[in-house]
Amino acid sequence: MSFPILTATAVLPAVGAIVTAAVPAARRTAAKWVALLFSLATLVMAAIVLVRFEPGGDRYQLTESHAWIADFGVRYELGVDGIGVVMVALTALLIPFVILAGWHDADPVETKSSRWRPTQGFFALILMVEAMVVLSFEATDVFLFYILFEAMLIPMYFLIGGFGDRAHSGTDENAAAQRSYAAVKFLLYNLAGGLIMLAAVIGLYVVAGSFSLSEIAEARASGSLDMATTTERLLFLGFFFAFAIKAPLWPLHTWLPNAMGEATAPVAVLITAVVDKVGTFAMLRFCLQLFPEASKWATPVIIVLALVSIVYGALLAVGQRDIKRLIAYASVSHFGFIVLGIFAMTSQGQSGATLYMVNHGLSTAALMLVAGFLISRRGSRLIADYGGVQKVAPVLAGTFLIGGLATLSLPGLAPFVSEFLVLVGTFAAYPVAGIIATFGIVLAALYTLVLYQRTMTGPVKTEVRTMPDLKVRELAVVAPLIALLLFLGVFPKPLTEIINPAVEHTMSDVQKQDPRPDVEAAK
């Protein structure tokens, strides 16, 4: 038996979390370094996984399988396909930046009214989230995945509720109330989804007699497992509902702006760039693979919801007064694109959606983290409190603009590739949906540029006159992200090579073929 590298990738941050938490209270800086080192080690592990993964090989690679709860056929089964391995890499990549960006976010505040915030806990929780998310990307056992899917809510809940953004408009008590509201809302929404998913998971076990993804898929393919149409649809809905909340898809999105607005910027990145990706990832891996027929049945409705998400999220982003909420609504719009790409059920759409998950992670991280730096300087999240920052802090403004341009999918930056693939893939299958989604790119330009104009340009406001430019640590967070955005915008081939075979598998799962071009079809 070979070295269980997938387990190691998930265990490493978990160990890191424990070690970080165990660092004595007074040695805060040491805790930060420990956390950073562990996240970097995880990144190295993820890189090894990425290298050892053979794009043309088996569907699931580096698999591990051990009996866990034998009575219910629950197994500890891990394995990554092209999509999973990319998501693992993204997660491992983003966490060091999150930690570095949140370097001072959990320092105890000296003022009396504020609670003492344990730095160790903050970083340990982040690593905990990483461990669970990584493992959930690797799990090929439905039950194991479900447990992780739910368990990651716990550290997230504490990260949102316990370590809020210091920049707020009201009193400390008021902010604490809003924060706990946001945290509870996050938890309740996701728990509700998880509950329904649990029912579906149990239902699946009753019907299929197994939790193993590969076994069920095999049984379905060979025809030995014949699900009744209604059963399959109900089970599909149970799974999809949970993922749609996590993703989040309109109209189940309202927890996201609250959570992202109240959490610190790094945690907001953690929510939208890492944890939410589990939702869309799971749609690809579980919904399509386990319930292909039901997926096709539900496609029209889901596509409409995705379109509503795209347009609605963008319009709401335009109407926001709070920088972080604006970015949150922009994310709602982007998640609409991802779901659209997944359910367009074309190669381009699904490749695009997978790439989109990665690129959205990078672009939102860049934009949100810079926004976090900006907010921490001025102590306000309101757009109206800024103006003319470009004059006093040009590097900050420049990076903010690049993050914004990535968000609006400017060609040359990574998100363009994925967004265009999604659009083309959707258009090929559903032309009208494709055209409606295209409106999203105009709206994206609108909210991004309005945000940039109101905060960065114009006369310099007195409050921002002394604002310092980005520091070295902050630049170290943003610069690699921007470099990656540029690189993947010009040369996404390394990723598409890994993703394409996995998408082909998924396409064969749902037994769909790409629509042929009219010219060829005519021949």
Partner: protein, 647 residues
């Protein structure tokens, strides 16, 4: 030779990267570096051009594939270049005019503390524009397309602390995005129709699909062209774009970027040729914009905005020509090139005037400048003669051909209409350009003391202005005058050089095909008519502005004048319908999201809470009450059991 193509883009891109990331250390040499790399790109272009001339007409096109960009099942996008005669023309125009304007900017931006960044943006623009014209597929073209949009955004908003500049930049980007939507839909249509979007396969396979599909693609491409080239109905951004520094207006918003739409249409000629309805739409758009821009140009007092109106109108000519099919493509491009020369020259002249007049832009506050800045006067004057189509100068050759071609649209009423519109446009052009000329360089001095920059945000910074000081007009430094002189040469001679023996049309023919137009009336008649209209326009302008003193504050004017000053109310329409409407929509959606979408969920939670509140009262703590419910429950169970037995 193919390997040099990438160098065209790489040089300015390198410049942009170095200048934008380099930090303050490069402040002292940044502008030289930028200019040098632009010139390097021009040299590469020239080398390639010479090489191209050495080959036969059909073998001139070069291809270079760098690497596979987006390889996905069924979807192949490459980073690949194609340099044919059409691209070559653009490359030379872009790098040539671009280099000149780089040189000009060295002087113009001398006092701006962010000059390094300005040159970085200019280089970025060059790179994107070159990418646009040498891309070998529509998706890569789209990258360049948006890239120039970004550069334009950055440069219009270069003086970002001016809210008007920031707003204008945003507006330009947004309106362009609407056009970009058209381009992306067009690409998607190509993909679903042809399975590819590379120029060669798409343009070669137009015969294999329906005319309806081609019309759809054509209309979407037209939408894209409207956005980028400021054609009606997406023209509103161009006037505001004059908030940017003048070299930017000259390079981007006159000579190169705004002509990208024309390039797109000419490049997609095969599609339009097979879709007459789309062609008709192109012609109509061109004709409408031609008049629209000209009318707006007549009413503006801001010299740059008057020129912007003119640009719009001239591009209208080009689009009109491009819509005419093989009889017009070559003339569209030829007018594009000559227009690049004289309009860039005019803008640079305008910049030179502003430079000498404390950045005053209102022509009513100029007057009598010809003695103070002779070089500017002469070069501007040559550009003026060229644009109105004075016989022998560049504009005469190119515009006259377009008017001829417009008359040749068909044999019926349409030929007359389009020809007539083009003819009328020539007259109006003569009118407004004469007006600009007279108000700026002739007549009495109407100079005003410099405004206080602290009170008036519209003052361009960069030049030290003492409030209340009268301007001291002076000739601009040599770095500014030399580009103007070079461009003036182009304005004078380029047209004749291109036209004699249809040299230009034959050069482009392998790409665009070329047919001689057969207008509904004879060519000499058209030329004569053009001359008459032209003289009439100039004469009216002289009578109105040269003959009488020009008031410093603008008179109220007729209804048309007032509407034209406001861009024929198009902005007002946009504001009321799109901006206001959009604001209301987003605001109400924010409300809906909070109260309805969130409210439904919260309401569900609250109703559960209420229900539990009711149920809680059953939990009164009295053991006997619990016993009753337990006993009752048991009774019900027994009843159920008995009933089940009975059934």
């Amino acid at each position: 030779m193919e390997n040099l193509i990438a160098l065209l883009v790489a040089a300015p891109l390198l410049g942009a990267a170095v200048l934008l990331c380099g930090g303050r250390r490069l402040d002292r040499i940044g502008h030289w570096l930028g200019t040098l790399l632009a010139a390097a790109s021009f040299v590469v272009g020239a080398v390639l051009f010479v090489d191209m001339l050495g080959k036969g007409a059909e073998e001139r096109a070069l291809h270079q594939k760098l690497f596979s960009w987006i390889p996905v099942e069924g979807f192949q996008a490459d980073i690949a270049f194609q340099l044919d005669q059409l691209s070559m023309t653009f490359v030379l125009l872009i790098t040539g005019v671009g280099t000149l304007i780089h040189i000009y900017s060295i002087g113009y931006m001398e006092h701006d503390e962010r000059r390094r960044r300005f040159f970085g943006y200019l280089n970025l623009f060059l790179a994107a524009m070159l990418l646009l014209v040498i891309a070998d597929n529509y998706l890569l073209l789209y990258v360049g397309w948006e890239g120039v949009g970004l550069a334009s955004y950055l440069l219009i908003g270069f003086w970002q602390h001016k809210p008007s500049a920031a707003t204008a930049a945003k507006k330009a980007f947004l309106v362009n995005r609407v056009g970009d939507m058209g381009l992306s839909i067009a690409i998607m249509l190509m993909f679903t129709t042809f399975g590819t979007f590379a120029f060669g396969p798409v343009l070669g396979a137009t015969g294999e699909t329906s005319e309806g599909m081609l019309t759809a693609i054509g209309l979407m491409l037209l939408l894209a062209a409207c956005g980028k080239s400021a054609q009606v109905p997406l023209q509103s951004w161009l006037g505001d774009a004059m908030e940017g520094p003048t070299p930017v207006s000259a390079l981007i918003h006159a000579a190169t970027m705004v002509t990208a739409g024309v390039y797109l249409i000419v490049r997609s000629g095969a599609i339009f040729n097979a879709a007459p309805d789309a062609q008709l739409a192109v012609v109509i758009v061109g004709a409408v914009t031609l008049l629209f821009g000209a009318i707006v140009g007549c009413a503006k007092d801001d010299i740059k905005k008057a020129l912007a109106g003119s640009t719009m109108s001239q591009i209208g000519y080009m689009v009109l020509a491009a819509g005419l099919g093989p009889i017009g493509y070559a003339f569209a491009i030829m007018h594009l090139v000559t227009h690049g020369f004289f309009k860039a020259g005019l803008f640079l002249g305008a910049g030179s005037v502003m430079h000498g007049m404390n950045d005053e832009v209102d022509m009513r506050k100029y007057g009598g400048l010809r003695r103070y800045m002779p070089i500017t006067f002469v070069t501007f004057g040559l550009g003026y003669l060229a644009i109105i189509g004075f016989p022998g100068l560049s504009g005469f050759w190119s515009k006259d051909k377009i008017i001829e071609a417009a008359f040749a649209y068909d044999d019926g009423i349409r030929g007359w209409i389009f020809g007539g519109v083009a003819l009328l446009g020539a007259g109006i052009t003569a009118f407004y350009m004469t007006r600009v000329m007279i108000m700026t360089f002739f007549g009495e001095k109407r100079w005003q003391p410099a405004p206080d920059p602290d009170k008036d945000a519209s003052v361009e910074p960069g030049i030290e202005v003492t409030p209340g000081e009268m301007p001291h007009p002076h000739e601009s430094p040599r770095s500014m005058t030399i580009p103007m002189i070079v461009l003036a040469f182009g304005s004078v001679f380029a047209g004749a050089f291109f036209s004699i023996g249809d040299r230009f049309a034959n050069w482009l023919a392998p790409v665009t095909q070329f047919e001689h137009p057969h207008p509904v009336i004879s060519v000499p008649a058209i030329t004569t008519a053009t001359m008459v209209v032209l003289l009439a326009g100039a004469l009216i302008a002289y009578l109105m502005y040269g003959h009488r003193p020009v008031p410093v504050t603008a008179p109220r004017g007729s209804l048309l004048t007032r509407a034209a000053r406001r861009d024929l109310l198009q902005d007002d329409f946009n504001h009321v319908v799109l901006v206001r409407g959009g604001e209301h929509l987003t605001r109400s959606l924010v409300y809906v999201d909070h109260s309805l979408v969130d409210g439904v969920v919260n309401g569900t939670a609250a109703s559960f809470g209420g229900l539990s509140g009711r149920l809680r009262k059953l939990q009164n703590g009295y053991a006997r009450s619990y016993a009753v419910s337990m006993f009752g429950g048991t009774a019900i169970l027994i009843a159920a059991t008995l009933l089940m037995r009975a059934v």
